[in-house]
């Protein structure tokens, strides 16, 4: 009996080969993951080493002086916060509501399929094209001028497809059986969405929004024609004002200002990344709080 078992569990040539192959793939995937982390660490490291020195309360809370060669980044920092906030206020409700309609109400016909295709294509449009669209539509046609409103609208149009796709994916991850159980009780579509579908997809929707925060904050092209300016010492007071923005400020400081101290552009980049991380952590904290409440 024992010998029979010994034979039964002895590794055959095929077993050994399978084991070797699986180790090889694990190594490959692991290496790829390392390669993914390496640039992130290099970028962050470089920024901290080269730009960490200029970061101070004064750098954060004063305007640039001396043709941007000294002073801080306050107008650009506030401008980016304005742009991202207004853009999200516009794109998130519209995007989420449209996704709910497409996923929960609309039937599967040629029209909705065409809309879905259009959304995917819209997500693939280069940002410079969005910039020109924003210039034509919001700045000139609607007469908003170069303003936070026009720039945020442009950013919103650009980010909306991604919000829609992410929302639709998380709505469709909710099992159909849950909806049917609810409908069978006499619930309307909206009651079902409200009580069953949204509570179980909200964390996925928030993930989509979080990704959009980073993208919106970092975009340069769509805002440089529509609302962001090279330099202004004034802080934005309303959505009709022009503003500086960190991304454009970084571009300007790095390429357009002769004789600027090397560490200033690095400092600006560091502030931009820190701002994005801060906004993301806020949404992540909110998401964790929601999950905790659901005991999920």
């Amino acid at each position: 009996m024992t010998t029979a078992n010994a034979v039964l569990f002895q590794a055959t040539g095929l077993n050994q080969r399978n084991e070797r192959v699986q180790r090889l793939y694990r190594l490959l995937f692991g290496l790829m993951t390392l390669m993914l982390i390496a640039p992130v660490l290099l970028i962050l490291g470089t920024l901290v080493v080269k730009g960490g020195g200029v970061i101070s309360w004064e750098f954060l809370f004063t305007a640039p002086t001396d043709g941007m060669r000294s002073g801080g980044v306050l107008p650009a920092l506030l401008g980016t916060v304005w742009l991202v906030t207004v853009a999200l206020l516009l794109s998130v409700p519209i995007g989420v509501f449209a996704a709910i309609y497409l996923s929960e109400y609309a039937g599967d016909n040629w029209f909705t399929r065409a809309i879905n295709l259009a959304i995917i294509n819209l997500a693939g449009v280069p940002s410079i094209v969005h910039a020109l669209f924003g210039l034509g539509a919001f700045v000139i046609f609607f007469g908003f001028g170069t303003s936070i409103l026009a720039a945020s609208l442009t950013l919103a149009v650009m980010t909306m497809p991604v919000v829609i796709v992410a929302t639709r994916e998380s709505l469709q991850a909710v099992p159909q059986a849950f909806r049917e159980a609810c409908w069978n009780m006499g619930a309307t579509r909206w009651q079902t969405i409200r009580k069953v579908v949204l509570p179980n997809s909200i964390t996925g929707i928030l993930t989509g929004v979080i990704l959009e925060v980073s993208r919106t904050a970092g975009e340069t092209a769509p805002i440089m024609f529509t609302g962001a300016v090279f330099f202004t010492p004034f802080l934005p007071q309303s959505v009709m004002d022009q503003t500086m923005a960190l991304s454009l400020h970084l571009f300007v400081a790095a390429t357009q200002v002769p004789g600027i101290a090397d560490e200033i552009p690095f400092g600006i980049a560091l502030v931009l990344i820190a701002l994005v991380l801060l906004m993301n952590s806020a949404s992540i904290a909110f998401r964790m709080w929601l999950r905790g409440k659901k005991k999920w």
């Binding site: 039937g107 599967d108 059986a177 849950f178 049917e180 159980a181 609810c182 409908w183 069978n184 009780m185 006499g186 619930a187 309307t188 009651q191 009580k195 069953v196 509570p199 179980n200 659901k294 005991k295 999920w296």
Partner: protein, 273 residues
């Protein structure tokens, strides 16, 4: 009228065929045909289901049993391509012409083959339907939740964890939770679609006892692929095969051989092939 709110247990040992033929008609199906695109799921079905009976529907897969339940509940509007012709009268109202389908569905409790514990707490699972009806009072909801969970033979197991997630209960518990949820609708009609498929035999027996009690107050349609289950529970039984209602009769007759159609006999005796 028997109070729907009574907690008094009914006599379980009452003979199954105690219903009277004089009972009122609860559900009348006339010339019902169901198609999915060009595929016929059900053809020319006529049925009469009476108040306070357990009406069994047996038959192999693909017989059109689930499609019938969907049509009764007007769930066809959620199924693209599903086309229903004929007449279904519920409480003597033509459900095909009903504009308020929500009221219809709220009068009919449905239990699915696979238990669907909604991803909310046990309490919320049972309180959902009363809340949809507009009941906000916590004390009132507490009473309903306890009553329905008790009736579904689940209260003792979950009374200390009403705030646990309903979708994390065991399969058999989730199925009883589903029944409690259906009861929380205070339904006129309870439709069970092969409820025991994912449930262990002991739980199945407990649920069967529950159904025998419930017969006092609600009419029950029991779709099952276990012919013995129909024999244990149903007053009358219909045999469906390939979209056709082959035979309807007093359940015991189907088993004692007084059948009109040879196919029925073959099926109940397990000689199908």
């Amino acid at each position: 009228m028997v109070s729907r709110n009574s907690l008094a247990p009914a006599a379980v040992d009452e003979p199954i065929d105690a219903f009277t033929a004089a009972a009122r008609t609860k559900l009348l199906v006339k010339d019902l045909s169901i198609r999915y695109g060009s595929a016929v799921a059900l053809q020319g079905v006529n049925l009469e289901i009476r108040e306070h009976e357990i009406f069994g529907i047996i038959g192999p897969a693909n017989a059109g049993k689930t499609s019938l339940l969907k049509a009764i509940n007007r769930m066809d509007v959620f199924t693209p391509g599903m086309r229903v012709d004929g007449e279904i009268r519920f409480n003597d109202r033509d459900t095909r012409r009903l504009s308020n389908v929500y009221a219809l569905r709220s009068r009919i409790g449905v239990v699915f083959p696979l238990p669907v514990g909604l991803p909310m707490t046990v309490y919320e699972n049972v309180a959902l339907s009363p809340r949809l009806r507009g009941i906000r009072n916590k004390a009132e909801l507490d009473v309903i939740v306890q009553r329905c969970l008790t009736r579904a033979a689940l209260w003792d197991e979950v009374k200390d964890r009403l705030n646990a997630l309903g979708s994390l209960l065991s399969g058999g518990q989730q199925q009883r939770l589903t029944i409690a949820r259906a009861l929380s609708q205070e339904p006129d009609l309870l439709m069970l679609d092969e409820f025991s498929i994912a449930v262990d035999p002991v739980t199945t027996m407990r649920i069967e006892d529950v159904l025998k009690e419930l017969r006092q107050e609600v009419t029950i349609i029991l779709v099952t692929n276990l012919v013995q289950q129909a024999r244990r529970l149903a007053n009358r039984t219909a045999f469906f095969l390939n979209g056709e209602c082959v035979e309807v009769g007093v359940t015991e007759d189907l088993f004692t051989g007084e059948v009109k159609d040879q196919r029925t006999r073959d099926y109940v005796e397990g000689r199908f092939g």
